[in-house]
Structure formats: C-alpha cells, structure tokens
Symmetry: C2
Subunit: 86 residues, 2 copies
Amino acid sequence: MYVIIVYDTERCNCVKLHKLLKKHLFWNQNSVFEGVVTTAQFAKIKQLLNEIRAKDSHITFYSFDNEKLLRREEMGEAKGNTSNIL
Amino acid sequence: MYVIIVYDTERCNCVKLHKLLKKHLFWNQNSVFEGVVTTAQFAKIKQLLNEIRAKDSHITFYSFDNEKLLRREEMGEAKGNTSNIL
C-alpha cells in the first residue's frame, strides 16, 4: 500500500519521529513522509510512533492500496529526502 | 475530487497560506489542509497559492478522484479545524 504520514509535535520529539520515519519512507518535506509499505510494516511504524511520540503530538496517516490512484504535484523547491537538516 | 495540501514556509507567509486555504478546505493540523473540491476550485487554489507563497516555500498537492479510496487514521488530539490559533 502507499502511505502518507504527517505529524505535528514539539521540536525535540520531531527529531525522534523523523529518524524513525526516514528508515521506512521517503521524506517529502518538513513533517511529511510517504512511500510504499506492506500492511505489516505500516502496523509496525504506527506502533513505534505511538511509543516515541510526545503526548501532545498529532499524527495523521493516509493510506490507499494503489499508488496509481494518487496524483501528486509540487510547487517550489523540495527540501526533503536530504539528510543534512537534522 | 479529494485533495490534501501540505506546505512548508516561513512563519509570516504561513499565516497568509492558512487564511487562503481555510476558506476552501478543512484544516487538519499545522500546515495540512484537505477536503472535497471541484477541478476548477483546485486550479484556482493552486493559482492563488502560487501568487502569495514565499519564494522558498514548498507545497505538495495530493489529489484523487474518490475519497472512499483513502483510509485516514489519526493519533493524538487534533488541533485542526479551529479558528483560535491564528
């Protein structure tokens, strides 16, 4: 399946979430990750995120079976998928 | 169609983008809006965003024809869809 994960959290927690998510997904832009995962991988990512996320954080998970159903457009220069920000 | 719009931008520009997007879409969480729009509305939103966005901003537009194809899960307390933050 294809997933998009977006999160709001405090700065120090942000680093933890970023490090976890970049192991599994493509980093699109600040606090937004996406990519192809299996159902089991997705469940594991959600479990791990729930363990390390700050209490007042909020995370949204969008998922769909077929990436081809999704159109994706960008405006501006992408900063994601680089490792020099954190 | 159903759209999800996520943006990275500088703080003062963030207010402008937020104000524009909340006229048309549901505010999910910081820098993330989503909702049902027509093709014409979507084109207009993109045009207006392009006019007011900061040079170094980055915006991603995800869209698909049928909202039912999308699964949506949340973790934590939602802060979106309230008007008292800006």
